[in-house]
Symmetry: C2
Subunit: 323 residues, 2 copies
Amino acid sequence: MSSPILPKPPFGESLVSNLQIRDPLTVARAITRVERGGVAARELVREIFPLTGRADLIGVTGAPGTGKSTLVNAMAKELHARGKHVAILAVDPSSPFTGGAILGDRLRMQDLQGTGVFIRSMASRGQLGGLAAAVSDAALVLDAANFETILIETVGAGQGEVDIARYAHTTLVLEAPGLGDDIQAIKAGILEIADVLVVNKADRDGANATAAALEMNLNLNPDRTAWRPPVLKTVALTGKGVPELVDAIASHQSYIRQHDLRRAQETARFRNKLHELLKTELLQNLLDRYPDSRWDAWLHEITERKRDVYTIANEILRNKNNA
Amino acid sequence: MSSPILPKPPFGESLVSNLQIRDPLTVARAITRVERGGVAARELVREIFPLTGRADLIGVTGAPGTGKSTLVNAMAKELHARGKHVAILAVDPSSPFTGGAILGDRLRMQDLQGTGVFIRSMASRGQLGGLAAAVSDAALVLDAANFETILIETVGAGQGEVDIARYAHTTLVLEAPGLGDDIQAIKAGILEIADVLVVNKADRDGANATAAALEMNLNLNPDRTAWRPPVLKTVALTGKGVPELVDAIASHQSYIRQHDLRRAQETARFRNKLHELLKTELLQNLLDRYPDSRWDAWLHEITERKRDVYTIANEILRNKNNA
């Protein structure tokens, strides 16, 4: 019997309980809420946060053309066959006007029909900091919704997307044969964040050479931790090599649990998030201290080459501290 | 006649004058200094800033395998043949242990020998914010060094790299036929920042289809400004189409000058830089207010799921304002 005077929790108890049974509509609505940000997003995160911390976050990153989406779908099916509840967050830098994300989603959902795999695209509109925050909050929603494995798929070539993948518990880096020369492929600069390396499209010419180049690079790296990333070959379209890949991920998950690395990973992820949050709020507070005309005048000094941006920043911070 | 009592400018007058005559060693040393950051970097920027604002910044971005480096070299040669002093900043996300950047640089320098084109790779170690700041300061050095055209080459698929390219006066986006299907290629999500679209490797099958797909996407976009990006085909290896590309860039440069857009671009670039700088400094000041043990305790509360990151951030900011 609830009193009408008591404040209602913002999301409602039925919503949280619907979330915990993985009701797809509730999960989708909750992710939309965290994507939008603001007070409602924060209240939802506060409410569900105690329910989180159990899911395995698997980051999957690689250049365009490596077949990420197909492989992630194949992994989801394999994990589903092993009795896991799986969700996919596809971080998609599609422009808002191409409609690529929506089309791609529909095709992928058809492919996964009947598996109960939840799939959601998140587009990188606006600031990347904002996207990273939204992705990590969406992962909290899926975690609270009792998905045991969350696959986070990002286009890897940019540092920002790499950061999203790197804060997963296990990070897969995909390569494919024939994407420019080998140096180019390896130049992607994301090898050192890989826990598992995958040469997808391994039925193509050059797959062995790509795998050998990756092994060679692993040998060159003196800073690796005790875990040596395995290099696996897959053909996502036929599912070849996918069970072995899922086994390799499970091995890495065991490794990080045995060596108590999960807490260190989580600390790094939350530290990063806390810092980003504080930076955004601190800047906003500072921006609010002065009228737009004052900020325009400072910028005008810079574009007119009267004073440089470092000198102006110093002045603003000094004013603030003396205020 | 200078008095020995007067403080010497940090970089020295001879250095600034050597910079202005494009002495390669001086330019390289100055870029190294801004890359390292800190007080010395800021003093150098302050000193050279009044000399800047004349160079044309051309951003060139595209996925791995589109042939960016070869095309940028070909453009540099064409611009040199037209009497321009050209510099290239190649923003390279190579991992520190592959050595790809150094090898690539040597090959490229050979290719440009005798042209006086200055070329410098910048690796994306550490934070991307740091890289973006270093790249824009390096561009200031090259601008002060009287290079008339600065080509900034980035691997485009990540938001961060795209941001670097977007703050150029003219942004080229490269595609190539045969990099996955067309939707995938167009999904790169960077079309809306393009002032000029290039289909490189246009001697390959599918070049016309890729160009047609790009034109179609331009037609779909309702938000374009009055400038419609031309779609050009090039074969960087043979130089085919490169003069037409350089003409298209010149047309865009005339367009932005005629419509007084250069100042708006510069304002956006410097506003972004000022905000990033202020955020970094404000966070550092806040971090310095508390001992590491206090920060560790807050993070521990989060990883233990006692309180979420938004609640902790609010508390920290409230404490600060009450202090």
